[in-house]
């Protein structure tokens, strides 16, 4: 009897591991998470890589496709083109973003609030929209054509300008975060030691945002080298890697060469990803918990000179977005400048019409809802479940992969994986489901990191306390963890929705006639020469995103006021 109740140690240990519900349930969840990430990410990428080593008939040919690629000078040229365009964009964006972020966080410049809102503008539109706007501003019949002094906007100039415009908010956000994390004590010490403002900037500010700068540079570089929208619209004959994939796959139906270019496009993105990871790891130890937040005092000369410098930035953003709106309303550019809504009658054009817009809304909605829940569940498993170290690390590593995978590459690998007749999931090919799956996978990493950060800020002992009170972990997750994370969850849902609405790169390979999307319609209408309707659809998408952002803002306030009243409650 005694041995039954008190079995020898190793048996009891085994029993605890096998029967304890709170032990096997997390293992099951983690295995499900790994399987999901494998299907949505790892297996498609594997089939892409293997495709690049096969010929048209599926025979393994080693590096023959790569040799053919290297032998084609026009294809090789795209590599230098891509690198050049991306580097130039990075340089322009990071320097402008540093100035803007400094003005936003470290000055009392008048109109900061307005600039903060304006700066985020480009994020709400597909990357095609600034490029279309460029056509109207500097194209053959552009209003400001003379400013280019004979140069053509169709080519590297157009790509760099449009891309810079579109990447700008991302860099500003990263640098604002870096600049906000500052210790006022350091600046007070510098002043007490009679350090000049310039020297303080060089010795205190720059070192403290060093990693932010590196991170911003690599994020912009990755965005620029992998973006497909801007070069497609305004690149003209100037080929880059992202457009090459599109041409090989859609134009020439040469899937092998498409996968070769994809593999090449993966390299800089993987490199940028690796550097960014390294930087993130370094960043952690920089700020101590005892840091005192910096309070910026007004300084006339600094504030007004920054205003002088930032005004052109604001004007350009307003001008580019405004031009797109104006162009979409003009009846027939440049001959009939009367304003009308003719260009918004999408049902008269190719591309899917208003149906495409509603498809997009549906797709973005599902992506936001399913994506947020799934990513939260996985982040919770990674962050809050005790033990099972190796499995959790595996999920975390897999969650990092999408950051290094350009949308074009992901989309193409989905074709290879899901269109395989032998794949049991073949059925979702051509449906809305594959678009949702692909988009969640594409934007997975940032959401994962946001939610992991939010979960890390929650006291690590909640689970232990619940266990001692005999409350199962999922009850505590529902009653405490989820409500505490609500702002982060809303943030993630918004991010997914906006990106799902505007994305072109991945889904351009995956839509079918029933699931045409608005962002792809912008591309196709532009391709067909219907530039004004393309601009109109871009504007509709932008307005939708701004509307959703407003909704998000209102909802956050409402929730903060009601269920989150404990946040403001400070005695």
């Amino acid at each position: 009897m005694d041995t039954l109740l008190n079995p020898p140690g190793f048996l009891a240990k085994k029993r605890a591991r096998l029967l304890g519900i709170d032990c096997s349930l997390p293992i099951l969840c983690l295995l499900v998470a790994i399987a999901m990430l494998a299907i949505a990410l790892v297996l498609p990428l594997y089939s892409l890589l293997s495709k690049s080593l096969e010929d048209r008939h599926g025979q393994f040919v080693g590096l023959a496709n790569f040799r053919a690629y290297v032998a084609d000078p026009s294809l090789m040229h795209s590599i230098t083109n891509s690198l050049w365009v991306a580097s130039l964009t990075t340089l322009i964006v990071v320097s402008l973003a540093l100035m803007t972020a400094f003005a936003l966080t470290r000055s009392r410049m008048p109109g900061r609030g307005l600039l903060k809102v304006l700066v985020m503008g480009p994020i709400f539109a597909p990357s095609l929209l600034p490029a279309i706007s460029m056509v109207y501003l500097f194209g053959n019949q552009g209003v400001l054509k003379d400013l280019l002094m004979g140069h053509s906007i169709y080519g590297p100039i157009g790509i760099v300008v449009s891309m810079s415009f579109w990447c700008f908010p991302h860099a500003v956000m990263i640098l604002c975060t870096a600049l906000e994390n500052s210790d006022a004590r350091l600046y007070e010490s510098a002043r007490a030691l009679r350090t000049s403002p310039l020297r303080a900037f060089m010795t205190v500010t720059l070192p403290s945002i060093k990693y932010g700068l590196i991170s911003a540079a690599f994020v912009v570089f990755t965005l620029a080298i992998t973006d497909f929208g801007a070069p497609k619209v305004i690149g003209g004959q100037y080929n880059v890697l992202a457009t090459d994939i599109y041409k090989q796959v859609i134009g020439l139906q040469n899937f092998q060469m498409g996968s070769v270019v994809s593999v090449i496009l993966l390299l800089p993105a993987v490199l940028a990803f690796a550097v960014d990871r390294w930087v993130q790891r370094r960043q952690v130890a920089l700020l101590t918990a005892r840091a005192e937040p910096l309070r910026v005092k007004p300084h006339r000369a600094r504030d007004w000179s920054l205003l002088l410098l930032c005004t052109p930035v604001a004007v350009v953003i307003l001008g580019v977005l405004g031009m797109a709106v104006y162009a979409s309303l003009v009846t027939f550019w440049p001959y009939n400048l009367d304003l009308s809504f003719n260009n918004y009658r999408f049902d008269l054009m190719d591309g899917g019409g208003w149906g495409a817009y509603f498809n997009s809304l549906q797709m973005a909605g599902w992506t936001a809802v399913i994506g947020t829940l799934v990513i939260f569940a996985n982040a919770y498993l990674v962050e809050k479940v005790p033990g099972l170290g190796p499995l959790r690390t595996l999920v975390h590593l897999m969650a990092m992969v999408p950051l290094a995978v350009p949308g074009m590459v992901l989309g193409l690998s989905y074709i290879f994986f899901f269109n395989e007749p032998g794949n049991p999931l073949n059925g979702i090919y051509g449906t809305l489901a594959i678009l949702v799956l692909c988009t969640i996978a594409h934007y997975y990493t940032v959401c994962h990191l946001t939610l992991v950060t939010a979960l890390k800020q929650i006291d690590g002992e909640f689970e232990a306390v619940s266990a001692s009170l005999k409350v199962p972990f999922y009850v505590t997750c529902w009653r405490v963890t989820l409500p505490v994370c609500l702002p982060a969850l809303l943030e993630v849902a918004l991010y997914l929705f906006v990106n799902a609405l505007n994305t072109v790169s991945a889904v351009v390979f995956l839509y079918s006639s029933q699931t045409a999307l608005a962002s792809v319609a912008v591309l196709n209408m532009d391709d067909a020469g219907d530039i004004a309707p393309a601009a109109a659809m871009g504007v509709v998408l932008m307005l939708t995103c701004i509307g959703v952002k407003g909704l998000h803002w209102g909802l956050s306030r409402l929730l903060l006021g009601r269920s989150q009243c404990w946040r403001q409650a400070r005695a």
Partner: protein, 354 residues
């Protein structure tokens, strides 16, 4: 094992190459207040987490109320726990926090409400039920965490450095209250702390730990007056250590003087360390001149209720620290540079191996 409520048998914990707990055995009686005391990294928190089941041990057994709980998950053990960080649920108000474990047990609504009111009364915050944790001070939050832990009437209460995050004044006040509460409820309690003063003030018994081993188990008086090792002597309270030579049963030589000491200490002759607490150094002797020693005053430090002096004994490099009352200092005219005749009572001298 019949009279011990919690018994730990040969518990072993290894993290990679690091041995966190070495063969720990310990018995705790029902209703007892036990402190695990030691420097950070000594294994006291690891031991507590093993008792709670939050970190499964590498080997060894734990029995609670006669039942073997060694490998049970925390949900199936019987304990309440309070952490240094309070770990109160920020989105639930005080009443909901306290009721968190009650609601899960299918207790009636009115019953839960009554119990919460009772507990709020018990911790002296009868009107705080509707408040959120962030509206309370640190000390109040910790009291709520305590109420939450005892709400389900667990047989064992675990306190993981519950006072370390609080201000000095609040800490002294709250340690009094916790002790009082524990006595009233009679719940067996284990508290982990690195603060020796806290342990001395609160515990029925103290378990002093170092490097994953138990150095000594005893009442606060025993730990303070009869430290079993040099580590315990130096970690609990202040202790002078003077190099000395043992020259026979109950005799040691310090500098040029030979003093009497007790005989329980290490055997054999050779180098030892003689230890004495600052307050045990006497300036007035009662006729027995055998343990007198002369020392020169190097400096004085005024500490309010008493004066701490640094003294120099001829032939000894280490200074001797002694505490004198302000009266002594005035009456005997103790000041820097003076030479004093001091009594180091034999009963107060501890001998430790070198």
């Amino acid at each position: 094992m019949s009279e011990s409520y919690l018994s730990i048998r040969r518990l072993h914990q290894v993290f990679g190459d690091f041995v966190a707990l070495r063969d720990i055995s310990l018995d705790i009686r029902e209703g007892e207040f036990v402190c695990f005391l030691g420097p950070s990294g000594c294994g006291k928190t690891t031991l507590l987490r093993a008792v709670a089941g939050l970190q499964l041990q590498t080997g060894g057994d734990i029995f609670q109320a006669g039942q073997r709980i060694s490998w049970l998950p925390p949900e199936q053990r019987d304990f309440g726990i309070v952490f240094q960080s309070y770990a109160l649920f920020p989105n639930l108000n005080v009443a909901d926090n306290i009721a968190y474990g009650l609601r899960n047990r299918r207790t009636g609504r009115s019953e839960v409400r009554a119990r919460v009111a009772e507990l709020l009364e018990l911790i002296g915050l009868p009107d705080a039920g509707k408040k959120y944790p962030s509206q309370l001070s640190g000390g109040q939050q910790q009291r709520v965490a305590l109420a939450r832990a005892i709400a389900t009437r667990p047989g064992l209460l675990l306190l993981d450095e519950p006072l370390s995050a609080l201000d000095a004044r609040v800490r002294v006040h709250l340690r009094h209250e916790i002790k009082e509460l524990q006595r009233r409820l009679g719940v067996t309690t284990i508290m982990v702390t690195h603060d020796q003063e806290e342990a001395l003030a609160m515990a029925d018994r103290i378990v002093v730990m170092n490097h994953g081993c138990i150095e000594q188990v005893g009442t606060p008086q025993q730990i303070y007056a009869e430290p079993a090792s040099a580590f315990v002597a130096s970690f609990v309270g202040t202790m002078n250590f003077l190099p000395a030579i043992r020259i026979g049963e109950g005799r040691v030589r310090i500098g040029e003087r030979t003093l009497n000491c007790r005989t329980l200490s290490p055997h054999g002759n050779g180098e030892v360390r003689v230890a004495i607490r600052p307050e045990d150094v006497r300036t007035r002797y009662n006729g027995d001149a055998s343990n007198l020693i002369s020392a020169r005053v190097r400096g004085l430090e005024f500490l309010g209720a008493f004066v701490r002096s640094e003294l120099e004994i001829d032939g000894v490099d280490e200074p001797l620290v002694a505490d004198f009352s302000a009266n002594d200092v005035r009456d005997l005219g103790i000041e820097a540079g003076n030479v004093l005749n001091l009594d180091l009572p034999a009963q107060r001298l501890h001998l430790f191996e070198h």
